[in-house]
Symmetry: C2
Subunit: 205 residues, 2 copies
Protein backbone atom coordinates (compact mmCIF):
# COMPACT_ATOMS: atom_id res chain seq x y z
CA UNK A 1 0.00 0.00 0.00
CA UNK A 2 2.84 2.37 0.86
CA UNK A 3 4.28 1.51 -2.51
CA UNK A 4 1.04 1.91 -4.40
CA UNK A 5 0.14 5.32 -3.01
CA UNK A 6 3.08 7.21 -4.50
CA UNK A 7 2.55 5.42 -7.81
CA UNK A 8 -1.10 6.50 -7.90
CA UNK A 9 -0.11 10.02 -6.92
CA UNK A 10 2.49 10.20 -9.65
CA UNK A 11 0.03 8.93 -12.24
CA UNK A 12 -2.66 11.32 -11.07
CA UNK A 13 -0.17 14.16 -11.11
CA UNK A 14 1.07 13.31 -14.60
CA UNK A 15 -2.54 13.01 -15.80
CA UNK A 16 -3.50 16.23 -14.11
CA UNK A 17 -0.47 17.93 -15.64
CA UNK A 18 -1.38 16.74 -19.13
CA UNK A 19 -5.01 17.79 -18.58
CA UNK A 20 -3.73 21.25 -17.64
CA UNK A 21 -1.56 21.48 -20.75
CA UNK A 22 -4.46 20.45 -22.99
CA UNK A 23 -6.63 23.13 -21.37
CA UNK A 24 -3.96 25.81 -21.73
CA UNK A 25 -3.53 25.03 -25.44
CA UNK A 26 -7.31 24.87 -25.98
CA UNK A 27 -7.70 28.29 -24.36
CA UNK A 28 -4.89 29.72 -26.50
CA UNK A 29 -6.39 28.36 -29.73
CA UNK A 30 -9.93 29.49 -28.80
CA UNK A 31 -8.47 32.94 -28.15
CA UNK A 32 -6.36 33.10 -31.32
CA UNK A 33 -8.48 31.22 -33.88
CA UNK A 34 -11.94 31.31 -32.31
CA UNK A 35 -13.90 28.48 -30.74
CA UNK A 36 -15.69 27.33 -33.87
CA UNK A 37 -12.59 27.14 -36.05
CA UNK A 38 -10.53 25.22 -33.50
CA UNK A 39 -10.68 21.42 -33.79
CA UNK A 40 -9.61 18.79 -31.29
CA UNK A 41 -7.06 17.74 -33.94
CA UNK A 42 -5.55 21.28 -33.85
CA UNK A 43 -5.14 21.05 -30.10
CA UNK A 44 -3.63 17.54 -30.30
CA UNK A 45 -1.27 18.68 -33.06
CA UNK A 46 0.19 21.53 -30.96
CA UNK A 47 0.77 19.01 -28.16
CA UNK A 48 2.25 16.49 -30.62
CA UNK A 49 -0.24 13.84 -29.56
CA UNK A 50 -3.14 12.00 -31.17
CA UNK A 51 -6.69 13.42 -30.89
CA UNK A 52 -7.53 10.16 -29.06
CA UNK A 53 -5.22 11.27 -26.27
CA UNK A 54 -7.16 14.56 -25.91
CA UNK A 55 -10.44 12.63 -25.90
CA UNK A 56 -9.16 10.54 -22.96
CA UNK A 57 -9.40 13.70 -20.86
CA UNK A 58 -12.20 15.56 -22.63
CA UNK A 59 -14.82 13.40 -24.36
CA UNK A 60 -15.93 16.27 -26.66
CA UNK A 61 -15.08 19.77 -27.79
CA UNK A 62 -18.01 20.91 -25.67
CA UNK A 63 -16.35 19.38 -22.59
CA UNK A 64 -13.17 21.28 -23.46
CA UNK A 65 -15.09 24.53 -23.81
CA UNK A 66 -16.75 23.95 -20.44
CA UNK A 67 -13.41 23.30 -18.77
CA UNK A 68 -11.85 26.43 -20.32
CA UNK A 69 -14.85 28.59 -19.33
CA UNK A 70 -14.81 27.09 -15.85
CA UNK A 71 -11.14 27.93 -15.44
CA UNK A 72 -11.53 31.53 -16.60
CA UNK A 73 -14.59 32.07 -14.39
CA UNK A 74 -12.69 30.39 -11.52
CA UNK A 75 -9.88 32.96 -11.94
CA UNK A 76 -12.46 35.76 -11.59
CA UNK A 77 -13.98 34.17 -8.48
CA UNK A 78 -10.53 33.69 -6.90
CA UNK A 79 -9.81 37.42 -7.30
CA UNK A 80 -13.25 38.33 -5.89
CA UNK A 81 -12.65 36.02 -2.92
CA UNK A 82 -9.34 37.77 -2.24
CA UNK A 83 -11.21 41.11 -2.12
CA UNK A 84 -13.95 39.81 0.20
CA UNK A 85 -11.35 38.27 2.54
CA UNK A 86 -9.85 41.70 3.40
CA UNK A 87 -11.79 41.82 6.64
CA UNK A 88 -10.09 45.02 7.85
CA UNK A 89 -11.42 47.02 4.86
CA UNK A 90 -14.94 48.54 5.31
CA UNK A 91 -17.64 46.51 3.55
CA UNK A 92 -18.70 49.44 1.34
CA UNK A 93 -15.16 49.87 0.06
CA UNK A 94 -14.80 46.13 -0.54
CA UNK A 95 -18.10 46.17 -2.45
CA UNK A 96 -16.85 49.00 -4.68
CA UNK A 97 -13.62 47.09 -5.38
CA UNK A 98 -15.55 43.84 -5.90
CA UNK A 99 -17.94 45.31 -8.47
CA UNK A 100 -15.16 47.15 -10.30
CA UNK A 101 -13.03 43.99 -10.45
CA UNK A 102 -15.92 41.84 -11.68
CA UNK A 103 -16.64 44.37 -14.41
CA UNK A 104 -13.00 44.79 -15.46
CA UNK A 105 -12.25 41.07 -15.57
CA UNK A 106 -15.48 40.15 -17.38
CA UNK A 107 -14.72 42.79 -19.99
CA UNK A 108 -11.08 41.77 -20.41
CA UNK A 109 -11.73 38.04 -20.51
CA UNK A 110 -14.89 37.80 -22.52
CA UNK A 111 -15.91 40.99 -24.31
CA UNK A 112 -12.75 42.80 -25.41
CA UNK A 113 -11.57 39.77 -27.39
CA UNK A 114 -14.17 39.01 -30.04
CA UNK A 115 -13.02 35.40 -30.31
CA UNK A 116 -13.30 34.76 -26.59
CA UNK A 117 -16.76 36.30 -26.80
CA UNK A 118 -17.62 33.57 -29.33
CA UNK A 119 -16.49 30.90 -26.85
CA UNK A 120 -18.63 32.48 -24.14
CA UNK A 121 -21.68 32.64 -26.38
CA UNK A 122 -21.35 28.93 -27.11
CA UNK A 123 -20.95 28.18 -23.40
CA UNK A 124 -24.03 30.28 -22.59
CA UNK A 125 -26.09 28.53 -25.23
CA UNK A 126 -24.90 24.96 -24.67
CA UNK A 127 -23.41 24.74 -21.17
CA UNK A 128 -25.45 26.99 -18.91
CA UNK A 129 -24.47 24.78 -15.96
CA UNK A 130 -20.98 26.35 -15.98
CA UNK A 131 -22.46 29.86 -15.99
CA UNK A 132 -24.95 28.86 -13.30
CA UNK A 133 -22.15 27.68 -10.99
CA UNK A 134 -20.37 31.01 -11.51
CA UNK A 135 -23.52 33.04 -10.75
CA UNK A 136 -24.02 31.05 -7.57
CA UNK A 137 -20.35 31.46 -6.64
CA UNK A 138 -20.51 35.24 -7.05
CA UNK A 139 -23.82 35.32 -5.11
CA UNK A 140 -22.19 33.46 -2.21
CA UNK A 141 -19.19 35.82 -2.11
CA UNK A 142 -21.46 38.88 -2.26
CA UNK A 143 -23.65 37.40 0.46
CA UNK A 144 -20.60 36.99 2.73
CA UNK A 145 -19.61 40.60 2.09
CA UNK A 146 -23.11 41.96 2.69
CA UNK A 147 -23.53 39.85 5.84
CA UNK A 148 -20.23 41.18 7.23
CA UNK A 149 -21.37 44.73 6.43
CA UNK A 150 -24.65 44.06 8.25
CA UNK A 151 -22.82 42.64 11.27
CA UNK A 152 -20.52 45.66 11.49
CA UNK A 153 -23.54 47.99 11.25
CA UNK A 154 -22.50 49.46 7.87
CA UNK A 155 -25.47 47.91 6.06
CA UNK A 156 -29.06 47.56 7.19
CA UNK A 157 -30.38 44.47 5.41
CA UNK A 158 -32.77 41.80 6.63
CA UNK A 159 -31.69 38.96 4.36
CA UNK A 160 -28.06 39.19 3.15
CA UNK A 161 -28.62 36.60 0.37
CA UNK A 162 -31.60 38.48 -1.07
CA UNK A 163 -29.60 41.74 -0.94
CA UNK A 164 -26.59 40.02 -2.53
CA UNK A 165 -28.70 38.67 -5.36
CA UNK A 166 -30.26 42.10 -5.92
CA UNK A 167 -26.79 43.67 -6.14
CA UNK A 168 -25.59 40.96 -8.52
CA UNK A 169 -28.68 41.23 -10.76
CA UNK A 170 -28.41 45.03 -10.71
CA UNK A 171 -24.88 44.98 -12.12
CA UNK A 172 -25.52 42.35 -14.81
CA UNK A 173 -25.10 45.08 -17.42
CA UNK A 174 -21.50 45.42 -16.25
CA UNK A 175 -20.54 41.75 -16.07
CA UNK A 176 -22.62 39.86 -18.68
CA UNK A 177 -20.38 39.64 -21.77
CA UNK A 178 -23.21 40.22 -24.27
CA UNK A 179 -24.61 43.17 -22.30
CA UNK A 180 -21.22 44.82 -21.89
CA UNK A 181 -20.97 44.77 -25.68
CA UNK A 182 -24.58 45.81 -26.33
CA UNK A 183 -24.60 48.67 -23.81
CA UNK A 184 -21.16 50.04 -24.70
CA UNK A 185 -22.67 53.09 -26.42
CA UNK A 186 -25.73 53.51 -24.18
CA UNK A 187 -26.02 56.56 -21.97
CA UNK A 188 -25.36 55.13 -18.56
CA UNK A 189 -25.34 54.81 -15.60
CA UNK A 190 -21.61 54.60 -15.00
CA UNK A 191 -20.41 51.77 -12.79
CA UNK A 192 -19.57 54.31 -10.08
CA UNK A 193 -23.10 55.81 -10.17
CA UNK A 194 -24.62 52.34 -10.00
CA UNK A 195 -22.41 51.29 -7.08
CA UNK A 196 -23.27 54.47 -5.16
CA UNK A 197 -26.98 53.84 -5.79
CA UNK A 198 -26.72 50.21 -4.59
CA UNK A 199 -24.76 51.23 -1.49
CA UNK A 200 -27.55 53.72 -0.63
CA UNK A 201 -30.00 50.81 -0.83
CA UNK A 202 -27.82 48.59 1.36
CA UNK A 203 -27.42 51.32 3.98
CA UNK A 204 -31.15 52.12 4.10
CA UNK A 205 -33.15 50.50 6.87
Amino acid sequence: MTMQTPTRDTTASAGSDLRCRILAIAERLFRDMGYRKTTVADIASVLRMSPGNVYRFFPSKKALNEAVADRLLGDIEAELERIVAQADVPAAERLRTFVAALHRMSEQQFTANRRMHEMVEVAMAESWEVIHRHIEGVDRLLCRLVAEGAQSGEFAVEDPMVAARCVHAAIVRFCHPALIAQCADEAGPTLEQMTAFLLAGLRAA
Copy 2:
Protein backbone atom coordinates in the same frame (compact mmCIF):
# COMPACT_ATOMS: atom_id res chain seq x y z
CA MET B 1 -54.88 75.14 -51.90
CA THR B 2 -58.10 74.35 -50.06
CA MET B 3 -58.71 71.69 -52.67
CA GLN B 4 -55.20 70.27 -52.61
CA THR B 5 -54.93 69.86 -48.87
CA PRO B 6 -57.76 67.30 -48.51
CA THR B 7 -56.40 65.41 -51.53
CA ARG B 8 -52.92 65.18 -49.92
CA ASP B 9 -54.50 64.15 -46.67
CA THR B 10 -56.54 61.43 -48.34
CA THR B 11 -53.48 60.10 -50.15
CA ALA B 12 -51.41 60.20 -47.01
CA SER B 13 -54.16 58.47 -45.10
CA ALA B 14 -54.59 55.74 -47.71
CA GLY B 15 -50.81 55.26 -47.79
CA SER B 16 -50.63 55.25 -44.02
CA ASP B 17 -53.46 52.74 -43.90
CA LEU B 18 -51.69 50.42 -46.33
CA ARG B 19 -48.43 50.81 -44.42
CA CYS B 20 -50.31 49.77 -41.26
CA ARG B 21 -51.78 46.72 -42.95
CA ILE B 22 -48.37 45.63 -44.25
CA LEU B 23 -46.95 45.99 -40.75
CA ALA B 24 -49.80 44.03 -39.16
CA ILE B 25 -49.33 41.16 -41.62
CA ALA B 26 -45.54 41.23 -41.21
CA GLU B 27 -45.93 41.02 -37.44
CA ARG B 28 -48.37 38.12 -37.77
CA LEU B 29 -46.08 36.18 -40.09
CA PHE B 30 -42.99 36.87 -37.96
CA ARG B 31 -45.00 35.57 -34.99
CA ASP B 32 -46.38 32.48 -36.75
CA MET B 33 -43.56 31.46 -39.10
CA GLY B 34 -40.54 33.19 -37.59
CA TYR B 35 -38.60 36.17 -38.88
CA ARG B 36 -36.05 34.26 -40.93
CA LYS B 37 -38.58 32.09 -42.76
CA THR B 38 -40.87 34.99 -43.68
CA THR B 39 -40.18 36.60 -47.06
CA VAL B 40 -41.42 39.92 -48.42
CA ALA B 41 -43.22 37.83 -51.09
CA ASP B 42 -45.13 35.98 -48.31
CA ILE B 43 -46.30 39.30 -46.87
CA ALA B 44 -47.28 40.65 -50.30
CA SER B 45 -49.13 37.42 -51.08
CA VAL B 46 -51.34 37.64 -47.97
CA LEU B 47 -52.17 41.23 -48.97
CA ARG B 48 -52.77 40.17 -52.61
CA MET B 49 -50.26 42.69 -53.87
CA SER B 50 -46.88 42.53 -55.57
CA PRO B 51 -43.66 42.52 -53.49
CA GLY B 52 -42.82 45.78 -55.26
CA ASN B 53 -45.78 47.37 -53.51
CA VAL B 54 -44.39 46.33 -50.12
CA TYR B 55 -40.96 47.67 -51.07
CA ARG B 56 -42.55 51.07 -51.81
CA PHE B 57 -43.16 51.38 -48.06
CA PHE B 58 -40.32 49.28 -46.66
CA PRO B 59 -37.16 49.16 -48.77
CA SER B 60 -35.95 45.93 -47.12
CA LYS B 61 -36.96 43.12 -44.80
CA LYS B 62 -34.71 44.75 -42.23
CA ALA B 63 -36.79 47.96 -42.50
CA LEU B 64 -39.94 45.87 -41.92
CA ASN B 65 -38.40 44.23 -38.86
CA GLU B 66 -37.43 47.63 -37.47
CA ALA B 67 -40.95 48.99 -37.98
CA VAL B 68 -42.53 45.92 -36.31
CA ALA B 69 -40.11 46.10 -33.37
CA ASP B 70 -40.68 49.84 -33.08
CA ARG B 71 -44.44 49.33 -32.94
CA LEU B 72 -44.27 46.60 -30.29
CA LEU B 73 -41.85 48.63 -28.18
CA GLY B 74 -44.08 51.68 -28.71
CA ASP B 75 -47.03 49.71 -27.28
CA ILE B 76 -44.98 48.97 -24.17
CA GLU B 77 -43.97 52.63 -23.79
CA ALA B 78 -47.58 53.79 -24.21
CA GLU B 79 -48.65 51.54 -21.33
CA LEU B 80 -45.75 52.75 -19.18
CA GLU B 81 -46.66 56.37 -19.94
CA ARG B 82 -50.22 55.68 -18.82
CA ILE B 83 -48.87 54.39 -15.49
CA VAL B 84 -46.54 57.38 -14.97
CA ALA B 85 -49.38 59.81 -15.78
CA GLN B 86 -51.45 58.69 -12.75
CA ALA B 87 -50.27 61.69 -10.74
CA ASP B 88 -52.56 60.95 -7.78
CA VAL B 89 -50.89 57.58 -7.15
CA PRO B 90 -47.79 57.66 -4.88
CA ALA B 91 -44.54 57.46 -6.86
CA ALA B 92 -43.41 54.27 -5.11
CA GLU B 93 -46.60 52.50 -6.08
CA ARG B 94 -46.37 53.76 -9.65
CA LEU B 95 -42.77 52.50 -9.79
CA ARG B 96 -43.86 49.04 -8.64
CA THR B 97 -46.60 48.96 -11.29
CA PHE B 98 -44.21 50.35 -13.93
CA VAL B 99 -41.54 47.70 -13.32
CA ALA B 100 -44.07 44.87 -13.17
CA ALA B 101 -45.72 46.02 -16.42
CA LEU B 102 -42.37 46.38 -18.21
CA HIS B 103 -41.41 42.86 -17.13
CA ARG B 104 -44.76 41.31 -18.02
CA MET B 105 -45.00 42.92 -21.45
CA SER B 106 -41.38 42.21 -22.37
CA GLU B 107 -41.89 38.58 -21.44
CA GLN B 108 -45.19 38.26 -23.29
CA GLN B 109 -44.09 40.08 -26.42
CA PHE B 110 -40.56 38.84 -26.87
CA THR B 111 -39.60 35.89 -24.71
CA ALA B 112 -42.65 33.65 -24.31
CA ASN B 113 -43.01 33.28 -28.09
CA ARG B 114 -39.83 31.68 -29.41
CA ARG B 115 -40.43 33.06 -32.90
CA MET B 116 -40.85 36.63 -31.69
CA HIS B 117 -37.67 36.12 -29.72
CA GLU B 118 -35.95 35.38 -33.04
CA MET B 119 -37.22 38.68 -34.45
CA VAL B 120 -35.91 40.52 -31.39
CA GLU B 121 -32.51 38.88 -31.65
CA VAL B 122 -32.20 40.02 -35.25
CA ALA B 123 -33.29 43.54 -34.27
CA MET B 124 -30.73 43.60 -31.44
CA ALA B 125 -27.96 42.41 -33.73
CA GLU B 126 -28.79 44.50 -36.81
CA SER B 127 -30.95 47.45 -35.73
CA TRP B 128 -29.72 48.56 -32.32
CA GLU B 129 -31.00 52.07 -33.09
CA VAL B 130 -34.60 50.85 -32.47
CA ILE B 131 -33.59 49.32 -29.14
CA HIS B 132 -31.63 52.44 -28.26
CA ARG B 133 -34.68 54.67 -28.79
CA HIS B 134 -36.72 52.36 -26.55
CA ILE B 135 -34.09 52.41 -23.78
CA GLU B 136 -34.03 56.21 -23.94
CA GLY B 137 -37.84 56.35 -23.94
CA VAL B 138 -38.07 54.17 -20.82
CA ASP B 139 -35.29 56.21 -19.17
CA ARG B 140 -37.25 59.43 -19.80
CA LEU B 141 -40.47 57.99 -18.36
CA LEU B 142 -38.64 56.64 -15.30
CA CYS B 143 -36.91 60.00 -14.87
CA ARG B 144 -40.28 61.78 -14.83
CA LEU B 145 -41.56 59.32 -12.22
CA VAL B 146 -38.47 59.63 -10.03
CA ALA B 147 -38.47 63.44 -10.32
CA GLU B 148 -42.12 63.58 -9.25
CA GLY B 149 -41.30 61.29 -6.30
CA ALA B 150 -38.44 63.60 -5.37
CA GLN B 151 -40.68 66.68 -5.58
CA SER B 152 -43.32 65.10 -3.36
CA GLY B 153 -40.64 64.14 -0.82
CA GLU B 154 -41.10 60.38 -1.32
CA PHE B 155 -37.67 59.93 -2.85
CA ALA B 156 -34.38 61.54 -1.89
CA VAL B 157 -32.33 61.67 -5.07
CA GLU B 158 -29.92 64.32 -6.32
CA ASP B 159 -30.13 63.61 -10.03
CA PRO B 160 -33.42 62.01 -11.16
CA MET B 161 -31.98 60.94 -14.54
CA VAL B 162 -29.01 59.16 -12.94
CA ALA B 163 -31.38 57.43 -10.49
CA ALA B 164 -33.75 56.51 -13.34
CA ARG B 165 -30.92 54.99 -15.36
CA CYS B 166 -29.73 53.04 -12.31
CA VAL B 167 -33.23 51.63 -11.79
CA HIS B 168 -33.56 50.74 -15.48
CA ALA B 169 -30.13 49.07 -15.62
CA ALA B 170 -30.87 47.21 -12.37
CA ILE B 171 -33.99 45.58 -13.80
CA VAL B 172 -32.46 44.62 -17.16
CA ARG B 173 -32.67 40.98 -16.08
CA PHE B 174 -36.44 41.38 -16.02
CA CYS B 175 -36.93 43.22 -19.32
CA HIS B 176 -34.14 42.14 -21.69
CA PRO B 177 -35.62 39.29 -23.76
CA ALA B 178 -32.43 37.21 -23.82
CA LEU B 179 -31.87 37.63 -20.08
CA ILE B 180 -35.44 36.77 -19.18
CA ALA B 181 -34.88 33.49 -21.01
CA GLN B 182 -31.37 32.87 -19.63
CA CYS B 183 -32.24 33.65 -16.02
CA ALA B 184 -35.57 31.79 -15.95
CA ASP B 185 -34.10 29.01 -13.79
CA GLU B 186 -31.68 31.12 -11.77
CA ALA B 187 -32.24 31.56 -8.05
CA GLY B 188 -33.42 35.12 -7.82
CA PRO B 189 -34.05 37.85 -6.79
CA THR B 190 -37.76 38.00 -7.51
CA LEU B 191 -39.04 41.13 -9.20
CA GLU B 192 -40.74 42.12 -5.93
CA GLN B 193 -37.50 41.75 -3.95
CA MET B 194 -35.63 43.80 -6.54
CA THR B 195 -38.25 46.55 -6.58
CA ALA B 196 -38.21 46.76 -2.78
CA PHE B 197 -34.42 47.00 -2.84
CA LEU B 198 -34.47 49.77 -5.45
CA LEU B 199 -37.16 51.70 -3.57
CA ALA B 200 -34.96 51.58 -0.45
CA GLY B 201 -32.18 53.14 -2.53
CA LEU B 202 -34.47 55.84 -3.90
CA ARG B 203 -35.76 56.74 -0.44
CA ALA B 204 -32.27 56.90 1.10
CA ALA B 205 -30.67 60.33 1.36
